[in-house]
């Protein structure tokens, strides 16, 4: 399955085509096709994962060489493989920057990635190849994406029931899943870009699924344009790295070139900065995070799929995949402050703060997602590669769970506003309540649920790698996360019911995905718990080892602090809402608090800045310039072209058509008639005359041959 990994993304692509063309004629409006394709993709992903874990470790990668050897060369070599040798190992020799103190331990072989490529097209000396590159990271992503997508498909069969574009919805879901799968299995940056943009288009379709309301189509446009702003960076970054790494799109080659000093510092930094723009756009990092909360206008399953497990983590995946570039460009190994960690850290805090002032349950989760994405980016920025990827992995489960839980609630109360439509739902919806609580506790990082393990690793990495500032950011973020989730749970499930009608538990198609995700939110963390499983060992690839990402032992101290701040956040929320302690109605009494609240409620005025100031100030002049250009330049050109076309047409008719063309035609007829008359004389019908011509001609030609040859 690792060799034939292309089948996994091919399945949803096929399902998209089938649903698009035949969906409406199928008995279940096409959702059975989507379910089958994504379900099969999930099964195949599990097979791939099993094969990956079973795969013998044959690739020896030496990390940064021993102390003092700053120019030391690390080598990549494949040991004799006992079974099915690795295919497509990266360049045979690669240098790496030395880093002191990490070289003592034995170099352990890792699993060789399985790469398979075909030539996509050839353009001059550049051969562009398409293919799959399966390693632990790709396998983990494939499993997460197909699983969450499958559950979202199941959820949607009930949630989207009777929707007027039901079939279209499932087609878009399939294509979206395909885009993400193409991206994560890609072996080169071009194909990665392809999957990345496929997701962009599909997110536009899905967020704007109910486009009859202007809000929704605006949100879809905003999501599309904002991520496009970052995508420009991706294009530029890919181009820079293409030339920087010696005309190759191959990701492994780019990473190796970056880490071995094969690229100049300036090229590397420019490329990494451009890629960071893409990450900021796609993964909703400050300051381009504004699209994600607005994108909640889409149907809730879409939010769960796009904004929990797939599209928004594409940016995080990009950093993890091209880690060599970021590592070398921003000196991640050296501690202090670097752009990746900085943007991540800022995002953690500002998004968490915004989550406190939302009344729409999905917006709370949206800001929570932004904040957690900040965590992941920050983790990668502080050199905790495994922690960042692992947080991506666990977050996908509990955030999808929370989104789907919010969907279940809104399905019951027909609204999203926690303050107006919800409250006291824990009795009416016991399953939803229980699973939502599990998701909340997992997100708050309370052991032993999933969020605890990944968050703990991030904090540990930040602390040990010399990023003290970001350890602090992480801790504050953890308190805020726990507190706003407590608020969200209180407003939704506790207190008294404030909505209308009688809420009831959702049907099994909705609760079963919730239960599955709740189970995963409980156990997923153990995949990287010390002494239980080895997520880190499974996913770490040659790039990570070459860079020499530091590993840290599980520390009870950090774990205790992480747990305590989580509990502190919950306690704060509990005290404020249940016990009614603390400064209630502060906004009424204090002008400062009121201003702060307004600042948050207006989302730091970033939207105002973007729409009114940036867009508003340039759209007037641009419109005027465009009008002037239209009137003077374009119309002038068009009118002149029209007048000239008339003159030219008259000229062509008079001279060319009447004289030349007709002359030729008539001349041809007349010429044929004349020559026919003249030749008629020769056509006597007498055989011997013809023979005489024949022999005469032979004599003439023979004479010519003798004379001139």
């Amino acid at each position: 399955m690792l060799r034939n990994a292309w089948i996994i993304p091919a399945l949803p692509v096929a399902s998209f085509v089938v649903i698009l063309f035949f969906g409406r004629r199928l008995p279940r409006q096409g959702h059975e096709v989507g379910l089958a394709a994504v379900g099969l993709a999930f099964v195949l992903s599990l097979v791939a994962a099993a094969q990956w874990v079973d795969r013998p470790a044959t690739l020896v990668v030496e990390g940064p060489a021993a102390e003092g050897a700053a120019e030391g060369h690390a080598t990549l070599e494949a040991a004799p493989a006992p079974a099915g040798g690795g295919h497509g190992e990266p360049g045979a020799e690669a240098g790496a920057e030395g880093e002191a103190g990490e070289g003592e331990h034995e170099v352990e072989p890792i699993r060789a990635p399985v790469e398979r490529e075909v030539t996509w097209y050839q353009n001059g000396p550049v051969t562009v190849r398409a293919g799959t590159h399966m390693d632990g990271l790709a396998v983990a992503m494939v499993v997460v994406v197909s699983l969450v997508s499958l559950l979202v498909h199941v959820f949607s069969t009930s949630y989207m029931h009777d929707d007027r574009r039901y079939t279209h919805f499932f087609a878009a879901l399939s294509l979206f899943t395909a885009g993400m799968l193409i991206m994560v299995t890609s072996s080169n940056t071009l194909q990665l870009l392809f999957g990345w943009e496929m997701m962009g288009v599909c997110s536009f379709m899905l967020i704007g699924h109910w486009w009859e309301e202007k809000n929704n189509s605006d949100a879809a446009l905003k999501a599309f344009f904002t991520t496009r702003t970052g995508d420009v960076g991706l294009l530029i970054g890919i181009s820079i790295l293409f030339f920087g790494a010696g005309r190759t799109f191959n990701i492994e080659a780019i990473n190796t070139a970056a880490l071995s000093g094969g690229m100049s510092e300036a090229v590397l930094v420019a490329g990494a900065a451009a890629l960071l723009c893409a990450v900021i756009g796609k993964s909703a990092q400050f300051p381009l995070h504004t699209w994600l909360p607005d994108a909640m206008a889409g149907p809730t399953p879409v939010s769960a799929l796009i904004h929990a497990a797939t599209m928004v983590v594409a940016g995080v995946y990009l950093v993890a995949r091209l880690y060599g570039v970021f590592w070398a460009a921003f000196d991640i190994g050296e501690g202090g402050v670097n752009p990746v960690a900085l943007f991540g850290g800022i995002t953690v805090l500002i998004a968490a703060a915004l989550a406190f002032v939302q009344s729409d349950i999905k917006k709370v989760l949206a800001y929570s997602t932004v904040s957690q994405l900040g965590y992941m980016v920050m983790a990668l920025g502080v050199g905790a590669w495994t922690a960042g990827v692992f947080h991506l992995f666990t977050h996908a489960f509990f955030k999808a769970l929370l989104f789907l839980g919010a969907g279940s609630v809104s399905h019951a109360v027909h609204g999203f506003d926690m303050k107006k439509d919800m409250g006291g739902l824990r009795r009416a919806m016991p399953t939803t309540f229980a699973t939502f609580m599990i998701g909340t506790v997992a997100l708050a990082g309370i052991p032993p649920l999933a969020g605890f393990w990944s968050k703990d690793e991030i904090l540990l990495g930040a602390g040990e790698n010399g990023y003290g500032l970001f350890l602090l950011v992480g801790l504050v973020g953890a308190v805020m996360t726990a507190a706003y989730m407590t608020r969200c749970v209180y407003l939704t499930f506790f207190g008294s019911y404030r909505g209308h009608g009688h809420p009831h538990e959702s049907p099994p198609a909705i609760t079963v995905p919730l239960l599955v995700l709740a189970g995963l939110s409980v156990v997923a963390g153990f995949l990287n718990a010390p002494g239980i499983a080895k997520f880190g060992e499974w996913t770490e690839n040659a790039t990570v080892l070459m860079a020499g990402v530091a590993h840290h032992e599980f520390s009870v101290g950090t774990a205790a602090v992480g747990t305590l701040v989580g509990l502190a956040g919950i306690a704060l929320g509990f005290a404020y809402y249940w016990r009614n302690l603390g400064p209630h109605r502060l906004t009424d009494r204090s002008a400062g608090a009121r201003a702060g609240y307004r600042f948050l409620a207006n989302k730091y005025y970033l939207d105002v800045l973007y729409t009114d100031k940036v867009v508003g100030s340039i759209k007037g002049p641009i419109a005027r310039a465009a009008y002037w250009t239209n009137q003077k330049v374009l119309d002038g050109v068009v009118n002149a072209a029209g007048a000239m076309a008339r003159v030219a047409g008259r000229f062509v008719y008079d001279v060319v058509d009447q004289k030349v063309v007709d002359g030729l035609v008539n001349g041809a007829g007349a010429g044929a008639e004349e020559s026919g008359g003249a030749l008629q004389v020769l056509q006597t019908g007498r055989l011997q005359q013809y023979a005489a011509f024949l022999f005469g001609a032979v004599v003439v030609l023979g004479g010519a041959l003798v004379l001139f040859a």
Partner: protein, 99 residues
């Protein structure tokens, strides 16, 4: 033995044949003149073959003889049909293709 003698004989036969083809009115005689031309060619082929000590010329001559036999067969059949239709084998009268 000189090659010239054969070539002169062949050239003479060829000219007699050409004269017959162009000047005779009788269809049968025209066909016979064509045979003269072909045999002039045969003499050339055999003579050159012998001169160069290869068998190719004789083989070609055999082919030409075979084809000439077939041609005469077809030609005499045509003449016979013309005679049946027009009671004459004068070629100057057969000018239905005149333009």
């Amino acid at each position: 033995m000189y090659l010239n003698q054969f070539l002169l004989l062949a050239a003479f036969l060829f000219c007699v044949g050409v004269y017959g083809v162009l000047a005779r009115k009788n269809g049968v005689l025209v066909l016979m003149s064509v045979e003269l031309i072909l045999n002039a060619v045969n003499i050339n082929l055999v003579a050159f073959g012998a001169f160069h000590a290869t068998v190719t010329g004789q083989v070609f001559a055999l082919f030409v003889i075979a084809i000439a036999a077939a041609e005469v067969g077809v030609g005499l059949a045509i003449v016979l049909l013309i005679y049946r239709n027009r009671r004459s084998i004068d070629l100057t009268e057969a000018d239905l293709l005149r333009g």
